[in-house]
Symmetry: C2
Subunit: 229 residues, 2 copies
Amino acid sequence: MLLSGGLDSATVLAIARHQGFIPCTISFRYGQRHQRELDAARRIADAAGVRDQVVLDIDLRAFGGSALTSDLPVPKGRGTDEMSVGIPSTYVPARNTIFLSLALAWAEVLDSTDIFAGMNAIDYSGYPDCRPEYIAAFERMANLATKAGVEGTRPLKIHTPLIAWSKAEIIRRGLSLGVDYGLTHSCYDPDLTTGAACGECDSCQLRLKGFAENGISDPVPYRVRSPRG
Amino acid sequence: MLLSGGLDSATVLAIARHQGFIPCTISFRYGQRHQRELDAARRIADAAGVRDQVVLDIDLRAFGGSALTSDLPVPKGRGTDEMSVGIPSTYVPARNTIFLSLALAWAEVLDSTDIFAGMNAIDYSGYPDCRPEYIAAFERMANLATKAGVEGTRPLKIHTPLIAWSKAEIIRRGLSLGVDYGLTHSCYDPDLTTGAACGECDSCQLRLKGFAENGISDPVPYRVRSPRG
């Protein structure tokens, strides 16, 4: 499964385990502005007792083109309504396709036919590669790409259990499964010294709103406590 | 376009230029046993005057599982009939999917809607990710994955001009377009000192047969001159 270290993938990990899978996690060092995400991924996987954890280096900065991997400013304080319009500058070209392709390679080596990922079409409606029709097309391609497709064994399945859930629903499900969201990291622009979240980027706003709708506080520290929190 | 440094991708580069495209090339340092391929890719791109050349590091050895990226023996002297049966140990899990996904990311940054690649379903019939139905599924997925798919601009096209050609046909076409095959490298197991090809691995045998069928000699040096050459 793809493990970013964020709230969504931490929830997916708990769901996969609850369904009886023994997850192996893959995370990427892809030229993010900071390494907090990867630290969080390791903490989350360790807490869940994941034995096979891979961190793959892949420098997407070679291509440029996104606020998450270059020096473009991260959008702040847009409000969650504004986020759903158009493709945000934090969209990394073909990122989910690259990540799922690498997970596919590892799944084939592991003889696994199940890939879990935290794509979500509600909060990230501006990202083309978070839509259900994209996931279905990737799954179809993946079944033609691999030995399973030739040898006619059990078909590969891309599981995206969060795809139609709001952030509040994701958090509710995760809490019911015992996820410790204090281990997660979502902010696009954290304080580089303390790791505190900014509270203002799209990711922080969605997260704070999700906790607020559940009537609880987000356990991670914020640099500027948003009024929404 | 994907440029491996082999005979096929050198031919694709010439075809793309002949069709009026201004190619940008992407090659991968993916844990190959040797760097000869990448040296050849640079020579080929330089000879064609390619300005934008990217070499991306991506260590597929993290996954294991293939003779081309680990210490499994490279199959030798199988004969070209035997090659077309089953999936060979030199198959790298999901390799073409990973490479095309990375090309897709770069294409999106470059605002290009055309990706060229040298997949071939004749010589590599044992590789699931060289089949036309796989390429079609990738193209469909790619159009859903990217901004083009959301914004409804010109759809992305995956060009695989060699897909139905024999090696002899590929070489004939390349020669007619002035490709210098002396710049290319195909061998899976070259002499690490001289770079001479082994003449016995699947890739060498296919290549030697292709030149022989055109009634000419392969311009690259061989360590052991195969009787087929």
